[in-house]
């Protein structure tokens, strides 16, 4: 029997902008089972990133519960959220978000520092992750500025894998890439999913359905459709 690794229950996220309120999520519920590939789609401003940030423990719901591996993150403090994030989540961003002063290899090492891995183990594992993300070994010592968008995203994927998180979250991972490079990245991600990672991808790109096994559609902060 497949267990739910992510369980979103009536999640509400309201942003306060001075006196007015923005209802980014108005009570969203869904489940993600271990090994799933969930795609979240919807128009701009529908609340996709907000949803992903909640699952990624970068934010907390205003109301409702979100369970990651059985832990309700709505109840956690900053340190608790950090622990869950570090041990369970690998984040991939549209803008790659690599640290520009560090080499590709060092960028991949960063999450392992916070996991208190020894320098030797870090280096070895970072190399392995870069290999897994299919970045040529010769690029390991390059700084992000010296890499193409696709290569940078591969570094970001390697970094997301560094602490062996069961869940990988990606917010428009192909948004800044041309279609060919984007396809390569999507194939890499779905390959990771086949190897057992639970994958949640936010995207505008309808072609995602070729890879995902569940897709939910958001509109104005609500789930309007779900396809399995």
């Amino acid at each position: 029997m497949m267990t739910s690794i992510v369980e979103v229950n009536n999640a509400v996220r309201t942003y306060r902008m001075g006196s007015s309120k923005v209802h980014a999520l108005k009570g969203v519920s869904f489940e993600v089972r271990e090994g799933d590939f969930l795609a979240i789609m919807g128009s701009s401003g529908s609340g996709k990133s907000t949803m992903l940030n909640l699952i990624g423990c970068l934010d907390k719901p205003t109301k409702g519960t979100i369970h990651i591996n059985g832990v309700n993150i709505a109840k956690l403090n900053d340190d608790g959220l950090t622990d869950i994030r570090r041990d369970n989540i690998g984040f991939i961003f549209q803008q790659y978000n690599l640290i520009p002063t560090l080499t590709a290899l060092e960028n991949v090492e960063i999450p392992m520092i916070f996991k208190r891995l020894s320098p030797k183990k870090r280096r070895k594992k970072a190399l392995r992750m870069l290999e897994l993300a299919q970045l040529g070994r010769e690029y390991a010592t390059h700084k992000p500025g010296e890499l193409s968008g696709g290569q940078q995203q591969r570094v970001a994927i390697a970094r997301a894998l560094a602490n062996d998180p069961p869940i990988i979250l990606a917010d428009e991972p192909t948004g800044n890439l041309d279609s060919k490079t984007g396809k390569g990245v999507m194939e890499l991600l779905s390959d990771l999913n086949r190897k057992g990672k639970t994958l949640i991808v936010v995207t505008h790109d309808p072609k995602i359905i070729e890879y995902s096994n569940t897709t939910i559609y958001l509109q104005d902060g609500e789930v309007v459709d779900e396809i399995d």
Binding site: N53, L58, D78, R85, N97, I99, T101, I113, F114
Partner: protein, 387 residues
């Protein structure tokens, strides 16, 4: 070396080093602030300390002496009082004397000195002979202090004239320097008979009495005893304890050192503010980076530690540099001013340098505390959105 290697392998330290290198000019400016602060504290302390040491050195070791002189309204210390002093325990020597300032002539030259009437045996307790011998009681011989002798270019055997009376110089004393009892360097020491010849009207009583105690630890006890004995009914005498001057010098220079170090502290405070400023700018610039770190698993304390480590590395580096500059700088300065660097190698000097370095590091840490705390409290999402 191994430790340095280990620290350099530490990724936190690598990150800190890299970030400090990233803004070289700014880091250098912050470091200069700390360097100057450390230099100010340490060199001010050293300066005060060297002054103190060189001054207290020029006072001879007089800690075991008490000087007794008549109280206000009294003319002199009497023989009876001296007799009563002799009954007090813990006293090694009692040296009563009478003196008078006088012109000393030799050929056509004149110098000024003080003629002392003091027992030859007592004089031996106060001074050392450079050349010649002590005078014999009852003779017309005299013993001269070093400065009188050198002013008039006298030797043993020269004949000087005081108040139209000729005296034969039989001994010249070693230089003794500044002193709290009597200035032997400008003294002319004569026997009781000779003094009476020079000053027929002179009384038998004494102008002052120098008391040498058996042990320096007894100074205060003997002083109290003397006061109890001699000032029982009314205040007849004053007692000056020589060790009190050392204490006074000590405390005066303590305040000078403190004052100078206070000035140093102000410059260190300014340095601390500049560290605060640099680190604050750095956290602002690296907001996005902090967001990334948090998104990939950095906790608040991780971020705090990273930024504090940066401040610490900057502080240690700058403070050590400041310490080295201080050693080199003050050694050169002291060498050129005093031409003698022995006081510099006093252990206290190194205490001041260590204190300077310590305060430099602490200041850096304090300066880095607020920026580090601010960085650690950043919300990861806001930080990631920051442009």
């Amino acid at each position: 070396m191994k430790l340095i290697k280990r620290i350099r392998r530490n990724m936190y330290a690598q990150l800190a080093e890299r970030n400090l290198r990233r803004q070289k000019v700014r880091t250098a400016l912050a470091a200069i602030g700390i360097i100057i602060g450390v230099m100010a504290i340490a060199s001010m302390g050293i300066l005060g300390n060297t002054l103190k040491l060189s001054v207290s050195e020029s006072f001879s070791d007089v800690g075991d002496k008490l000087v007794i002189y008549p109280a206000m309204g009294e003319d002199s210390v009497t023989q009876d009082q001296v007799n009563r002093m002799e009954r007090i325990a813990g006293i090694e020597h009692i040296i009563p004397y009478r003196s008078s300032g006088e012109a000393v002539e030799y050929r056509d030259e004149t110098s000024y000195g003080t003629v002392y009437r003091m027992k030859e045996s007592n004089l031996r307790h106060l001074v050392d002979m450079e050349s010649g011998r002590f005078f014999k009681e009852g003779s017309t011989d005299c013993v001269l202090g070093s400065s009188v002798a050198s002013n008039l270019e006298l030797e043993v055997g020269s004949k000087i004239e005081i108040e139209d009376t000729r005296l034969r110089v039989v001994g010249i004393l070693k230089e003794r320097g500044m002193s709290v009892d009597i200035s032997t360097d400008s003294g002319v020491f004569v026997s009781h008979d000779m003094y009476s010849k020079l000053y027929p009207d002179a009384e038998e009583d004494y102008r002052q009495v120098i008391v040498i105690v058996e042990d320096i630890a007894l100074v205060d006890t003997v002083k109290t005893e003397l006061e109890d004995t001699l000032n029982k009914r009314e205040k007849k005498i004053e007692i000056f304890a020589a060790n009190s001057i050392n204490e006074q010098i000590e405390s005066a220079f303590q305040s000078i050192s403190m004052f100078l170090m206070g000035i140093g502290s102000i410059s260190l405070l300014v340095a601390g503010v500049s560290i605060l400023n640099v680190m604050l700018m750095s956290t602002m610039e690296r907001t996005r980076e902090i967001g990334i770190m948090k998104a990939v698993g950095a906790s608040r304390s991780d971020v705090l530690r990273m930024f504090l480590l940066e401040a610490l590395i900057l502080g240690i580096f700058a403070s050590l540099l400041g310490g080295i500059v201080t050693v080199v700088g003050s050694l050169t300065l002291i060498y050129f001013i005093m031409e003698d660097v022995t006081y510099f190698f006093d252990p206290t000097t190194f205490l001041y340098i260590i204190a300077g370095i310590f305060f430099g590091i602490v200041t850096s840490l304090i300066g880095g505390l607020y920026p580090a705390w601010k960085a650690s409290m950043m919300n990861p999402l806001d930080a990631l959105r920051y442009e």
